[in-house]
């Protein structure tokens, strides 16, 4: 094999794939931009506007004692007060997540948002006992049906609440409390619905405390427990405990990174091979290089593409973790393993792609042969939950030794909270290396025969025939 020719092929392969605007934008700039806007999106999400609906809420209060509390609770100034409080909490959270990065920006936008709050106006009309629920419903139905703007916005019926007689005090001790029933105008703002329902429930609950002679403030104090950050005690000392999200997120992200990097390189390899074949440029190439040199060069070139993707994504990930002050989750050994398992997974996947690309006449024909490969690539997703729940179960252990999905499963196990013993990781690397050799051998055979075969697209059986031929 002529190394300089192989590297020449690789260089062209890399340049024609990675040095294009489409690739740089699609694969590199987009993720970087997305990572950069995550904090912005978080801030924007908290900027959600409070409900600004105005209108009438009818309350048919059979208990005859909740209405005043509801009126108080849903009064414009008290609703506004609660929203401001929520914004301030959110601002605190953002700041605790991103000390330094974006904290000031978050604070600013928070202040801006709170000053802009438009409070909803609910006009509570207590309906007397003599008012029939059907009449109220009829009024709402008519308003909805007529679909015209009301002269007086306040007359717009938002909801009808019917509160049971026994909503706040039990009639017999052996039965439970009564409840309430809400009827809403269609397509009402979610926040408005939430505010109304929340207000009614809160009010009923307050009345129940009173009736049971319980002190409202005391209950609130009893219910509140300040959450303190959990810590993990390690050999080196204390550290922030991996929270629930991190235990799932890190293995998942590691697996997705591997999948994405190896699949992107592999997909490009398929495309360029099919292109060279359907362009008929392949015979020109074959007059200069051998099929094996051509395939090796192409695989190395796309490996470069995958590696650059992986490097960029890893860098983005590390920056993001540091920005969210989760920097202590970064494990250099883990990053090394991601690269090792990437290479193993990529070589197996790329071999299949090269073989398929050489075997077919155009991308459309590639689809049918791609199906089994795609199924294979979905497996890590399917096995994610069972593996991550029990990273060292027999099931997980066995899966992590079966190429070509082994690299994905192993990286999940390694990055889980309960990492497998080192010998297993090393064994998996060894098993995958054998897998790589087998896959490359298979690909080289198919590649050689397939490249100059035009006409009927092959099926799996013909592929195996070619292997015997080559």
């Amino acid at each position: 094999m002529n190394i300089s020719k192989v590297m020449r092929v690789a260089a062209r392969e890399f340049a024609s794939t990675a040095m294009t605007k489409g690739f740089i934008i699609g694969a590199l700039v987009l993720p970087a931009v997305m990572a950069a806007i995550i904090p912005v999106v978080m801030v924007l999400a908290m900027k959600a506007q409070p409900p600004a609906d105005t209108g009438t809420v009818y309350i048919l209060d059979h208990s005859q004692e909740v209405t005043p509390i509801i009126e108080d609770r849903l009064a414009p100034e008290s609703v506004k007060g609660r929203w401001i409080e929520r914004f301030e909490d959110a601002a605190d959270t953002v700041q605790s997540f991103m000390p330094g990065v974006g904290a000031d920006a978050a604070q600013n936008s928070m202040e801006q948002a709170t000053s802009n709050i438009k409070s909803p106006v609910f006009r509570i009309i207590p309906a007397g006992d003599d008012t029939n629920l059907d009449e109220l419903k009829e009024e709402l139905r008519k308003q909805v049906a007529s679909d015209t703007e009301l002269a007086d916005e306040n007359r717009k019926v938002l909801a009808i609440i019917e509160i049971d007689v026994d909503a706040t005090k039990k009639i017999n001790d052996d039965e439970g409390y009564g409840s309430y029933q809400a009827f809403f105008r269609p397509k009402l703002n979610e926040e408005t619905i939430g505010e109304i329902k929340g207000g009614v429930r809160w009010s009923i609950r307050q009345k129940r405390y009173d009736n049971a002679d319980l002190d409202r403030t005391m209950i609130a104090e009893i219910n509140s427990i300040d959450a303190r950050e959990s810590k993990e005690i390690t050999e080196e000392g204390e550290r922030k405990a991996a929270n629930g999200i991190a235990t799932f997120a890190i293995p998942f992200v590691a697996m997705i990174l591997l999948l994405m990097a190896s699949m992107t390189g592999g997909q490009y390899l398929l495309t360029t091979t099919v292109e060279e074949k359907s362009n008929r440029v392949v015979e020109v190439l074959l007059s200069a290089v051998s099929p094996l040199e051509l395939m090796t060069g192409k695989i190395i070139g796309q490996m470069g593409v995958g590696l650059s993707l992986l490097t960029v994504y890893n860098a983005v990930g590390i920056v993001a973790l540091i920005a969210f002050s989760l920097g202590d989750l970064i494990d250099p050994q883990m990053i090394l393993l991601i690269f090792v398992f990437f290479l193993l997974a990529y070589f197996m996947f790329a071999s299949l792609m090269a073989a398929i690309g050489a075997a077919v006449n155009d991308l459309r024909e590639a689809q049918s042969l791609m199906t089994p490969v795609m199924l294979m690539m979905i497996m890590p997703y399917i096995f994610f939950m069972p593996v991550i729940r029990a990273p060292n179960s027999l099931f997980s252990t066995v899966l992590s030794f079966i190429p070509p999905i082994s690299p994905f499963i192993m990286i999940m196990r390694v990055s889980s909270t309960d990492a497998p013993p080192t010998w297993q990781v090393l064994l998996a690397i060894f098993v995958n290396m054998i897998g790589v050799v087998v896959f490359l051998w298979f690909a080289a055979k198919v590649f050689r025969v397939g490249l100059l075969m035009f006409g009927k697209p092959p099926n799996l059986r013909t592929l195996f025939k070619w292997i015997r031929m080559a």
Binding site: V9, E276, R280, S287, A288
Partner: protein, 331 residues
């Protein structure tokens, strides 16, 4: 025959099958260095398969092969220039970059490659396309770029598979000139074509392939002498309607009308000179001449002799149309 050292290509009993189909069978070849060889035969005859085996893109099932003194072309790839029949190009690549890529794959040093590429583009009258994308070129221009790709590295052996197809007459002449120049420089040139007159214009040696078998391997002059003219073209003063009378002349086998003349096919053993004398004695002529056999005639004679029930005219029509002969051949 010359010894192996001075042979550019030699083949010995080479056979290649694809599944149940025999593409090439029992091909022997001895192509001396510095010669210009034409592979002719209709489409599907096995020319491309033979060429691909010389190029070591395909490998023979049986038989021996040597290229530039090596067991296979793989060992001397950089000394061979190859223009495949199915020629491709990287559409998105710039012409200059494409040629430089191929040049470097062919083992050229990247230093000075720029100038070599530009020089060649000038020679084929394609100045100014260096920075254009390949897909922006017309088909004819692309073909010239592909030709450059095959000779860029100054190879000793140049193999061109159907180099003229798709070219207009002006570019055809240009390409012929370039091929001739390479030949004059002492390079061995092998090219294939199904259009026989192109071979007649360029080659000094012809290899005819039909249905995977070599049916002729000789110099053009020898072929012309060997395939004795068996027909005359005449234009009797009495007009072209005289075919019946002429057919009765001794030694004439058959008369048929061709464009502006009558074609007189002679019986076996009759010397054309004698026949001309007899005919001139019998009728006054505006014109009488021995018809020079074209390669096409030679090909048809060989093929019709070998295969019974084959209609020569039908075959000729097929040949002109460039359509495949396989179906007729098998029946």
């Amino acid at each position: 025959m010359s010894n192996t050292d001075t042979l550019a290509v030699s083949m010995n009993g080479v056979r290649k099958t694809f599944g149940s189909k025999v593409a090439v069978e029992g091909i022997d070849l001895a192509i001396p260095e510095g010669s210009i060889y034409g592979f002719i035969g209709p489409n599907g005859a096995g020319k491309t398969t033979t060429i691909r085996m010389i190029m070591s893109i395909l490998f023979p099932d049986h038989g021996e092969l040597s290229v530039l003194g090596k067991k296979s072309a793989i060992e001397s790839k950089d000394r061979i220039g190859y223009l495949p029949e199915e020629r491709g190009i990287y559409k998105k690549m710039k012409v200059g970059a494409f040629l430089k890529h191929i040049g470097r794959l062919k083992g050229l040093d990247s230093r000075g490659l720029d100038l070599v590429v530009k020089g060649w583009l000038e020679r084929v009258e394609l100045e100014g396309v260096y920075k254009k994308k390949c897909e922006e070129l017309s088909k004819g221009m692309q073909q010239k770029v592909q030709f450059i790709a095959s000779v860029l590295h100054d190879p000793d052996l140049i193999i061109l598979d159907e180099p003229f197809s798709g070219l207009d007459p002006v570019n055809m002449r240009l390409l012929r000139k370039l091929i001739d120049e390479e030949h004059t420089k002492g390079k061995t040139v092998i090219f294939s074509t199904h259009v026989m007159y192109q071979a007649e214009q360029l080659c000094d040696h012809i290899v005819m392939i039909h249905e995977g078998k070599k049916v002729l391997d000789d110099t053009l002059d020898d072929i012309r002498t060997r395939f004795d003219p068996r027909s005359l073209h005449i234009d009797p003063v009495g007009g072209l309607g005289m075919s019946d009378e002429i057919a009765k002349v001794a030694g004439v086998a058959r008369v048929s009308a061709v464009e502006n003349a009558l074609e007189v096919i002679l019986e076996k053993g009759i010397e054309p000179q004698d026949a001309m004398k007899t005919l001139l004695a019998a009728y006054p002529m505006n014109r009488i001449e021995i018809k020079k056999p074209t390669l096409e005639d030679v090909f048809i004679e060989i093929v019709t002799d070998g295969v019974r029930g084959l209609d020569a005219e039908q075959l000729r029509a097929n040949l002109l149309a460039g359509s495949k002969l396989e179906e007729e051949g098998e029946s």
